[in-house]
């Protein structure tokens, strides 16, 4: 081995093992790049050769339809964001309230406990779309006057009811996961049960469930599209309109791209938070 081989970046001496591992790393990087290039090349060359590819392109990836409809889709997506933005805080608050109800110990509050349990059972047990239909169509159908017959309003209510049941269960899991020694320590100081929950248990519980609740937010963001079935012209419904107008599925692909642009980064961030938490706990 020559003298030069033993010198790393900046003239710092490299250990034998470092040199060996660098060599391995360069080799595996090269292999990964070449194999990826081969797969991409195969896809680019082979997939268009498949029978019917022309029709697939025309139907799903029609450039002119895409450029015509994309701005409208984006505009409709604002609707999704609005519904999302005002239901998310309501869900967080209602979910927390339901979770605390199920934790109530005093006999006076027993009805609340039963209610909390029944609530989570029912709304977690129903398909979301059924709740959306039942409440979003059903309640305006009672003959309410404007603006209380708006499907926006009742559709959002349906989402809030459903999602707060899931969110409540996550909060409850977080509350249960705070070690009993924390409660003991707080009680031994003479704090009331309420203060123990508010200052000691809940802050720790909420921190623990942030990543799990992030995943609920992402699911909610997607499920806002379910409201399209009862009226609000959000992105999914708008895409349907464009599809009919242009007799082409490209608007759905456009909608999918917009959804993914939001959900993929959000999912990655939630995964990152979860991994970080797992590391901190180990």
């Amino acid at each position: 081995m020559s003298q030069i081989d033993n010198v790393g970046v900046g003239g710092k001496p490299r250990s034998r093992r470092q040199a060996y591992e660098d060599k391995l790393r360069r080799k595996s990087l090269l292999i990964a790049v070449m194999s990826s290039a081969a797969v991409v090349l195969a896809m680019v060359v082979l997939v268009p050769m498949a029978p019917g590819w022309d029709r697939v392109v025309k139907s799903f990836f029609n450039w002119s339809v895409m450029t015509r409809t994309f701005p409208g889709l984006l505009e409709a997506f604002v609707q999704n964001i609005m519904i999302f933005a005002w239901s998310a805080p309501l869900i967080a608050v209602l979910g927390l309230v339901i979770a605390l109800m199920r934790d109530a110990r005093s006999p006076v509050l027993f009805p609340l406990r039963i209610f909390g349990a029944a609530y989570t059972d029912i709304f977690r047990g129903l398909p979301v779309i059924l709740t959306v239909y039942l409440i979003g169509f059903g309640i305006p159908g009672l003959g309410l006057s404007r603006p209380y017959n708006s499907p926006y309003l009742w559709g959002t209510v349906a989402l809030v009811l459903t999602y707060s049941a899931y969110v409540a269960e996550i909060f409850r899991g977080g509350i249960d996961s705070v070690h009993s020694s924390q409660r003991s320590a707080a009680q031994s100081l003479g704090l009331s049960d309420r203060d123990v929950m508010r200052y000691v248990v809940l802050p720790q519980a909420i921190r623990k469930v942030v990543p799990a609740q992030m995943n609920m937010l992402i699911a909610l963001q997607k499920d806002v599209a379910l409201l399209s079935f009862i009226g609000p012209v959000e992105i999914f419904r708008q895409a349907g309109v464009y599809k009919s107008l242009s007799a082409n599925f490209t608007p759905y692909v456009g909608a999918a791209i917009i959804f993914l642009a939001v959900t993929i980064p959000a999912t990655r961030y939630a995964d990152y938070l979860m991994q970080k938490q797992a590391r901190e706990r180990s």
Binding site: A185, Q187, S188, L189, G190, V200
Partner: protein, 243 residues
């Protein structure tokens, strides 16, 4: 009248009788050490005194008043009895000073500003003056345990309970925590310790109780109990513990 008196205290977890008729007097200003193997009932007894566990039968008297009456509001009693745990149990989401101020703020309705001089004095007294703003995970075990003691002291308790507070510490950190106990003893604090530190119990305790299977087998002044144990069970335990 003893500051704290236990009379035939019985505590059961299901079929398991953890405290089996414990009777004990703790005079004001005394340090009483409970020794015995793990599972002998020392920790459970301390938790019962602080009303963290309800007792099945018997009585616990603070200044002659039975505090173990079923249905009694435990919070005012707990404020008079401080407790420190083996695993520190600091609140991880609060700094050391917030840990200490939480209970006085909520229970005594004091403000941070009003509490600060007293709390600062406590921190500096126990060598923690520069650690007030640190979170528990930025502190060593010995520092965390001293903060936990300060947290209990900030409520100005009349009795302090210590549940094997040095058992989770690295050996070189045990000394700094035992020093805190010596200081409290000099202040005249009434204390009950569950401990495995036999040397400390012999040096500092006014009374040592040997527990086995939920019963006090033998009690006495440390010199008597350590040097001339009368019961075979005590002799066997000490022979193993002091080896």
């Amino acid at each position: 009248m003893p500051k704290l008196a236990l009379r035939d205290v019985i505590k059961e977890f299901g079929d398991n009788r953890v405290c089996d008729g414990i009777t004990l007097d703790v005079d004001a200003g005394d340090m009483v050490c409970l020794i015995g193997a793990s599972g002998a009932g020392k920790s459970t007894l301390l938790r019962c005194i602080n009303l963290l566990e309800p007792i099945e039968d018997g009585g616990i008297f603070l200044d002659g008043v039975d505090i173990s009456v079923p249905g009694l509001d435990p919070e005012p009693v707990r404020r008079r009895i401080g407790m420190v745990f083996q695993s520190y149990n600091l609140f991880p989401h609060m700094t050391a000073v917030e840990n200490v101020m939480l209970a006085p703020r909520r229970v005594h309705k004091s403000t941070r500003a009003a509490l600060l001089p007293e709390v600062e004095a406590l921190f500096s007294r126990f060598g923690l003056a520069d650690r007030m703003g640190h979170y528990p995970d930025q502190l060593s075990g010995g520092q965390q345990q001293r903060v936990a003691i300060v947290r209990a002291l900030a409520m100005r308790p009349e009795v302090m309970l210590f549940d094997e507070i040095t058992s989770a510490l690295d050996p070189q950190l045990v000394g700094e925590v035992l020093d805190v106990l010596r200081t409290l003893k000099a202040d005249g604090m009434t204390m009950v310790l569950a401990t495995h530190e036999m040397g400390f119990a012999r040096e500092a305790a006014d009374k040592v109780c040997f527990l086995k299977d939920g019963k006090i087998i033998e009690e006495g002044r440390p010199a008597e109990l350590f040097d001339a144990p009368r019961k075979p069970a005590t002799q066997a335990f000490l022979a193993r513990a002091l080896k």
